[in-house]
Each structure stands twice: as C-alpha cells, then as structure tokens.
C-alpha cells in the first residue's frame, strides 16, 4: 500500500494502474472509551485531533462527525486566509494560524494549495483611508506585515477595477497584506484527517452526538447515534450548532447563528490574481484555480439554521461586485449556497473550558474561522491535553464577557471575514 504522497510515488502508482493507494483515513467502529473525544469533523475538530496526537502524544482520540468531514462551514467557505486584525490578541492568534498554514502542506504531506497572492481591503472615502492607515499602523506595531496602498498601488494589483470618473466606489487605496491569500478548504480538512488517522486517531463519520454523559457534575463522554462513548475530556467544535449542543450540556453561549452565503461564477481565464475586499460595498472576491470567481459578502441579518441564504444580501453582494468590476457583469453564476456561522458579540472566537467541567469549547469563529484552523486546533489540543490555557488562547476564554474584556474586532478592524 502506498501512503506517502510524492512525485515518485505518483509515478510508481501510475505504472501500477493506481491500484496501490491506501485510503486517506480509516473508518473504524467506535470504541466504548477514548481519552479524548472531539465533537465536529470540520477543520477545527480535525486539527485538534491531529495536534493532540502530534504535539501531545495523545492518540486514543476520536473525532465524531454527524455528516461527512468538512460538510459544515469548512467545506462551504470562500477560503480566504489572512491575519489583518486590529487588536494584539487577535493578531497573535491569526498570525499563529497563518504561520502554521505556511508550513502545512509539508507537515501534513498533503497539498493544501496555499496561495499567498495578497489581499487588498479597499478604502473608498477619505475617512475610510484614515481608518485604513490606523489598521496598517496597528498591524505593523503588532508585528505582522501590512502596507498602506494609495490609488496607484490599487491600479497595479487590480487593473480591471472601475477607475472611471463616475465610479460609485472610487479606490483611494486600502490595506494590503501580502501574505494573505487562499487555501483549498477540502484539502485542509482531508489533510488533517489523513495525518490524524495515520497517528492513530479514530475518525467516526455519520455519527451524531445527541447528549452529553454528565456524572458528578462533569462531562464524562457523549451519547451518539452509534452508542455511548466515554472520554476523560470532550472538545466541542461544531460552529453554528454550538448553542444547540450547549443547551444539551445545560448552559447558554454568547453566540447567534446566522446564514452566511457565497457564490461562484462560471470559470473564466485568469483576470483577478489577488483577494479583494470592499467593506464599503459589502463584497469580496477571488478567482479560484479553476477560474471561477468566488464571491461573498456579509451575514444575512436574520438568525437562522436554514442553510440557504436570502435574496437581499445576495443582491447587495452582486451589485457591489459589478460596480467595482463592470466586466464581471457578463459572468453567469453557477452556484450559491450558505453555511450556518456562530457569531459572538465581539466577532472574536471563544476558546476555553465550558461551564460544564470536562467539556471544552472552540466556537464563535463566525464568518472567519477557516483562516484560523491550525491555531484553533493547536489551542484546543493544548487545553484538552493540559487543562490549561495556552498564552494565546487565554484572552479568548468565555469569562471575557462577564469581565467586560471583549476583543471587539467588529469595531477594531471592521472585519467581514
């Protein structure tokens, strides 16, 4: 069986008719007991299992997924990775993720197709330019790369932009982060799953967690559609379903679930080689390797668990896009979809032990947790393995709400994604 991926193994397998490839991960029967159980087989859950095994040597671990791996937001997102946040706590978190992403294809022996093509967050008014300068200064002080772009720079990276005299969204400049870009979402989930499975982690798909086993005021495992599974510690990484699971564990969370939508066009020849975001127009876009324009925007402002997305937001997104890129008017949309994202009041994630001892949280990533997967996994694994916060996750504990120590990125960097 061939397990390692390389040019050499590709040639060898090609000569043997591609018959010798081992499955990327195994699908074992659930065991009655593990050291640790992770609920949710998205990027954060799978990365947590991988780092538990890799960094902490804890391999008696199961990841429990009700559907298929990456079938939640990890396989539905627009794949933008970046670390252009405002507060030092956030920059440390997202820069940790970006640095790990930079070495991830090699570490996992799986091509996650990281493309650091740079991202421009546009400013359309003098006031927005001043805010852009403020964000750039903050990012530089926090030690991550950022550049303030003027109109000439925008012209250089976005030649197809509407620079006409009547443009509704004139481009005065913006925040540029050269290390930002995109990565292949499925590959991130599959790469972590494959590497975790190789280290002995059990990946259980089509297995829904229905209840928590609570004994003596502690979480002792989970009740699933495939039977009871006991564990010393349980990690919860279920994104939009966090409140629902919290209710089963007897507490509430400061999150609201909303639909976030995206769409892709038909594939066309290369025309856009950066990621472009306009907070003003409420639109962002990048071009995929296949040539499709991948387009997204803001949340549907109606709390929802229906994975569909509404028309007014789609209309805002598309009208913003065609105003900025008139040539895109001819594009035909191929698909539109939505994922259910868990949004915290300060648009920052929640990482820490839950009010139910033994149950640990990784949620609240809202519209922007794909870029954070390697860090979310590292930090939840650290918590599960040691029972203690990593320095970087400490400020993101659930206790920040009662302490009034919010990390308000919605106000700080005006984050969309």
């Amino acid at each position: 069986m061939t397990r390692h991926y390389s040019a050499l193994s590709l040639v060898k397998e090609g000569l043997k008719g591609q018959k010798g490839w081992a499955p990327a991960w195994t699908s074992p029967q659930p065991k009655p007991r593990y050291d640790m159980v992770i609920v949710g087989g998205g990027g954060h859950g799978l990365a947590t299992a991988y780092y538990l095994a890799k960094t902490h040597g804890i391999t008696n671990v199961a990841v429990i997924e009700k559907g298929w791996l990456g079938g939640g937001n990890t396989g539905r997102n627009t794949t933008v990775v970046r670390s252009n946040y405002f507060f030092p706590e956030s920059v440390r978190l997202y820069d940790m993720a970006l640095k790990l992403y930079e070495g991830l294809s090699r570490e996992l022996n799986y091509n996650i197709m990281l493309s650091q093509r740079g991202m421009i967050s546009l400013a359309h008014t003098p006031a927005e330019m001043e805010m852009a300068a403020r964000v750039v200064n903050a990012m530089q002080i926090n030690g991550t790369d950022a550049e303030l772009f003027g109109p000439g720079d925008v012209k250089r990276v976005l030649p197809v932009y509407n620079f006409g005299p009547k443009a509704r969204y004139p481009a005065l400049g913006g925040v540029w982060q050269g290390r930002s870009g995109t990565a292949r979402h499925d590959a991130v989930a599959w790469g972590y799953a494959r590497a975790a499975s190789a280290l002995g982690v059990d990946i259980l798909q089509q297995c829904e967690v229905q209840e928590f086993l609570i004994e003596g005021g502690r979480c002792r495992g989970v009740k699933t559609s495939r039977g009871e599974i006991r564990a010393d510690r349980v990690g919860l990484a279920v994104a939009g379903h966090s409140s629902q699971m919290a209710a089963k564990a007897g507490f509430r969370l400061p999150v609201t679930s909303y639909a976030l939508q995206a769409c892709v066009s038909e594939p066309v020849k290369p025309i856009l080689d950066t990621v472009v975001l306009s907070p003003g127009a409420g639109t962002y876009a990048s071009q995929s390797d296949k040539g499709e324009m991948v387009v997204g925007g803001g949340l549907d402002r109606i709390p929802s668990y229906g994975q569909r997305g509404n028309l007014p937001v789609l209309e805002t997104v598309i009208s913003g896009l065609v105003e900025m890129f008139p040539s895109f008017r001819q594009l035909k949309l191929m698909r539109q979809w939505a994922g259910i994202v868990d949004v915290a009041p300060d648009s920052s994630p929640i990482i820490g032990e839950s009010p139910l001892p033994g149950l640990f949280l990784n949620c609240g990533w809202g519209t922007g947790g794909f870029k954070a997967i390697p860090a979310g996994g590292t930090l939840l694994a650290h918590l599960l393995a040691t029972g203690q916060h990593h320095d970087i996750s400490r400020p993101f504990d659930l206790d920040r709400f009662a302490r009034g120590r919010l990390i308000d990125e919605a106000a700080g960097s005006g984050i969309a994604h």
Binding site: Q244, R252, L253, G306, N310, P312, A402, G404
Partner: protein, 88 residues
C-alpha cells in the same frame, strides 16, 4: 424575499426589519447589586434556538418593536404581535 408582518403596518419585506433578541430578556434590576455574570447573561448570552423561537423585532420604517414567533430552520414566521404591558 421573505415577508414579515408588522402588527402596525402589515406585511413588509425583510430588509425593513431589525432583529432585537430573545423575547423576555429583561434588564436585571438593582444596578450595582447585580453580579457580573448576570449582566453578561443579559447583555451577551442568547437562547439561539434551532426551530421555534420567540423574538423581539423592530420595524425600522415605523420604529415600533413587536414580538414574533418564528421557525429558525424553515424560516416560517407568524404575524408579529404588539408587545403588551407586563408580558414575560
């Protein structure tokens, strides 16, 4: 386009409405005597139910708040009801 029904103006498109939170999330009385966790609960923690939800909404065009029962999965919404004095 989803249509919601304001108890004062009747059926209107969804973008005229603003979500106002869980019905019955009242501000705790007692100011300094209220423990931090209770303030946090009122300010930040949410029911966020999957399925039937009882919520407060605002119709932006007339400025009135009202209550609405809604299914967060099917998005079915009953007509809004005026908030009554002493309602939970």
């Amino acid at each position: 386009m989803q249509i919601f029904s304001c108890p004062f103006c009747g059926p209107r498109p969804e973008y005229e409405f603003h979500f106002g939170g869980d019905l019955g999330n009242h501000r705790p009385e007692g100011f300094d005597a209220v423990p931090d966790q209770k303030w946090a609960d009122y300010l930040y923690f949410r029911n966020n139910p999957k399925g039937m939800a009882r919520e407060v909404w605002m119709h932006l065009t007339c400025g009135e708040m009202f209550s609405m029962t809604r299914d967060t999965v099917t998005m079915e919404a009953a007509p809004g009801e005026a908030l009554a004095e002493g309602q939970p």
